[in-house]
Amino acid sequence: MMALPHIGFVVAAYALAALVVAGMIASILWDYRALSAGLARLEAARGEKDER
């Protein structure tokens, strides 16, 4: 630990970067799932309407 006195700053920097990147990936994936589900519901509803 004495040889690496500033290791805490390095760990914090990498953890922060990983967190932000993970957040960006998760938010885009979550958005995609919500949009795909919305489109699927809309198409299913239109299909039901056409059958009637």
Binding site: L4, P5, H6, I7, F9, V10, A12, A13, Y14, L16, A17, V20, V21, G23, M24, I25, S27, I28, L29, W30, D31, Y32, A34, L35, S36, A37, G38, L39, R41, L42, E43, A45, R46, K49
Partner: protein
Amino acid sequence: MWNFASPSVFISLTRRALPWLWLATAVLFAVGLWMSFAAPLDYQQGVTVKIMYIHVPAAWLSTFVYGVMTLASLGTLVWRHPLADAAQKSAAPLGAGFTFICLVTGSLWGKPMWGTYWVWDARLTSVLVLFILYLGLIALWRSIEDPGRAARAAAILTLVGCVNLPIIKFSVDWWNTLHQPASVFRLGGPTIAPELLWPLLVMALAFTLLFLALHLMAIRNEILRRRLARLTMIAAAEGDSLAPRLATGGSRA
């Protein structure tokens, strides 16, 4: 060329390209991180030099993303292409993310090296202005309901804001800053030792591919959001009672 800019063709191309892009990104990150931690410590900075391998690529990406948005803004204003709107809108949160990483990792490097987390130095301040610009653009997109009007307003603000890019780049030459001058892209070649430079370049490439993958996914989301909005309006016009409930699909306006 214009065929590739058609939303349906874009979605189909994205579906095929994304798995390969993610694979290349993961491999480059694995190699880049391994090289970064295997690289020798700097004789002055010690272990804090490791922060450089994420700070510098994030800094490059913060201006690169804004450059992409500037080109997309020209596409919006000159050709009025909907894919240019989508590219510009979806890049802003990513640019904000990379700029945030750049600012915070820079602060975490500055404390042990400079003795302070922050100074109002020209480079740091101009990057902070860039971060605020990204937030302003995100807010602008969210505050105007009509996507066409929002795109034009955001495009104009983006073009105005691009004057900040040369300020960021040359701030270390024009003013007496605490931030060190360019050490990679400079006349006369890099001043960094190859043992430290190669991991940095691999990490920069990994970050760039990460941005490309995320940007393609975000543009695809934007196309789907517009398709959903259009179909919902058609359903509403046809008197579909399900339309209001369906319109809630998607998370970002």
